[in-house]
Symmetry: none
DNA sequence: CATGAATGAGCTTTCATTCAT
DNA sequence: TATGAATGAAAGCTCATTCAT
């Protein structure tokens, strides 16, 4: 895992068998990551647990890193899509509604699977350095919030600056990340969800800081 | 990094020379981590850059992990102490004052040294799994805020629950962490600091969520 | 290239299509060898470049080595045939004539195709160990010279011993080999050709060494 | 053995033990090369036969190729030095004397050790592409001959052009190379040596070709 | 105490070859 | 017959750690 920025899969699967192989590899990688940690994630182990030969692994992934990246991308897209879908079908009536919906969905997505702990930690550390196409979750959430801040009367007072959006999204996801990674039972606590909402909504409704300062 | 769960240092340094050696090793490790990343951090390289033999390194640290842990702890303590000191000498007159002071100090601590980027990422991923004594920074900040929320009139309205403190501290540090790790120039932007303050202060002053709900 | 000592082709091509396939495979191998070197010559790459599946390659060649051997043999036969043909049609009038003709043809055969460099090197290293049927070029040349030394008056003085033939042929081909393999532009230099002729003709005309010694 | 032009040793040995290790590695490599061929030359096998760990091998050689290169260089220097020494102490009285001395020494150097067969083949194929500092043998021989062609009356008639030297040295070494590589008993035959001398001396004494042509 | 040579388990990756489809 | 997914032995190489000097 030295350099090699290659990220794509080595070959497109043309037979159904191949698709199953890829899926098995990713699932095996996820399991090992979860149960034994990143250091235990060796290509041999992944192939073994996936029930395929090591050669097959390398037929579809150019190197170990590519497996990790694919795994992370899959996870991220799954969560991102879920958030978007839930929001779309819940038809929020207010900005507050929407924020509660987003946070609730995020928590649901990260919660049940304590099994995803290591993966989330990895996502945090890997995504940054190596995968710039990977900010989907954050960007999607930021987009949703920004849209809401324009569309709904309760937030309309002040449009969201880029920096505000950055702070809000990173703060909320940062807190969730901590909860997941620190393995805290707190992530199942309704009060945690409530406080997250309070943090977000309070921030979105608060008078503009600079405006406030100038006004003072 | 195979076996050996030992984590403490192998021997107490009794001579000034020993202290200097340890310091040189940690500094070398920090430099390598920063300039070349975690993968490049090998014991041989650390010893070499520190100007000591590999044998000497193992005289002071039982294994590679111990070096990393010591490095992280050093960094964390430095930042924690700085926050505490700045607050102590600034004698805040209000809760808002104190929060602004804490955030400002945190940003100063993380900011100038873009060189600390990799270290911060490491702290995040390592602290959780391997060092349970390591939450000092977070705990210290949480303690400060909690104390303030009791001491100062502007926050007095509602004492900070454990969960609230958790959310607040993780949110703020999470946003800063993002800024540092994503290498964003945003960390130098005054507006970023302002928004962080707005987030924290707004949260601390907002009416209690559950109270509000009950009241409704 | 593990086991399987089989060296012959697996099946006789009975259809024109098969011949074309074999030709495509050999041509692909030659190209890869030339452009990327021996290490890059993998069966998968050969099949790919030849436009056939890896399975098909193994239908015509029992293993990778057989491909190489076929390639070398093809090359060798081509050059050998060319030398023979040129000589036959030039109807040399003297031994010197014939020698000049042979050397000239050899140089023409090896020259234009700097592309054949890697192939020549291969021929040199492979032919020895693995292909004992492969001395055709050398033998053909040796035969030509030997015949000339008997047929033409200018060489008639002394019949060529086996060892003399060996020395002469290896010397001339060795010098050409060096020129090709070392990638020297020398192979295009007319003086090079002239000197080779001088070497060969001088040797063939010189008084017998042992005779000379005895005479002395 | 992909790229990596590194050729030097990884670290200078500072302890006597290290020198012995290096020697053992080279000797083991030579043996394996000889008895089992180039394909059998794996780093593990070399280390094993040398009685050292694989790690030790890589402490002194950056990669497998470096081992080969060191081996070849060692061999080449040994032969080159021997040729030079023998000539120096034999104090040849004529050019013919000197040529006979050189050829005799070369044959002695290559002869007794049928064990050197594979090594010579390797030298031929490797030296060219990868080690440009490696032409010592050829250059040394060429230098000796060139000097002789100027110093001694029997060759004085015509100074040796660069191309003539090239042809002569490659021809002689090419013939010897063939004898060694083809495993022919011919290398032990005194007539072989005699014919080589005849080839070389005849060439050196022959009237200049171009002169001859012009004269005609 | 310091040194650095030695160790070797274990990792990633390649590629010739097979065989079910 | 042609295909290409699957195989897995085996290779090169790294690096944390030990221990004789």
């Amino acid at each position: 895992m030295t350099a090699q920025p290659i990220v794509k899969m080595r070959k497109k699967p043309r037979q159904a068998r191949a698709v199953a192989t890829i899926e098995a590899i990713l699932e095996a990688a996820a399991q090992i990551l979860q149960k034994e940690g990143e250091e235990a994630l060796t290509t041999a182990k992944v192939a073994d647990r996936a029930g395929v030969s090591i050669g097959s692994l390398y037929q579809y992934f150019p190197n170990k890193e590519a497996v990790l990246l694919a795994l992370i991308r899959r996870e991220r897209e799954a969560i991102g899509a879920e958030v978007a879908r839930k929001i779309a079908e819940s038809e929020p009536k207010s900005g507050e509604d929407l924020v509660r919906g987003v946070i609730s969905t995020l928590l649901v997505a990260f919660r049940p699977r304590r099994r995803r702990r290591k993966l989330v930690a990895l996502m945090a550390s890997l995504s940054v350095d190596r995968d710039n196409s990977g900010l989907e979750l954050r960007d999607r959430v930021a987009y949703l919030i920004a849209a809401a801040s324009r569309r709904f009367p309760d937030f309309a007072a002040r449009p969201l600056s880029d920096i505000s959006a950055y702070v809000l999204v990173r703060a909320v996801l940062g807190a969730i990340r901590s909860a997941v990674v620190e393995n805290a039972k707190i992530i199942d606590d309704p009060e945690f969800e409530e406080e997250l909402c309070r943090l977000a909504i309070g921030y979105l409704k608060a008078p503009d800081a600079s405006a406030a300062r100038k006004g003072a």
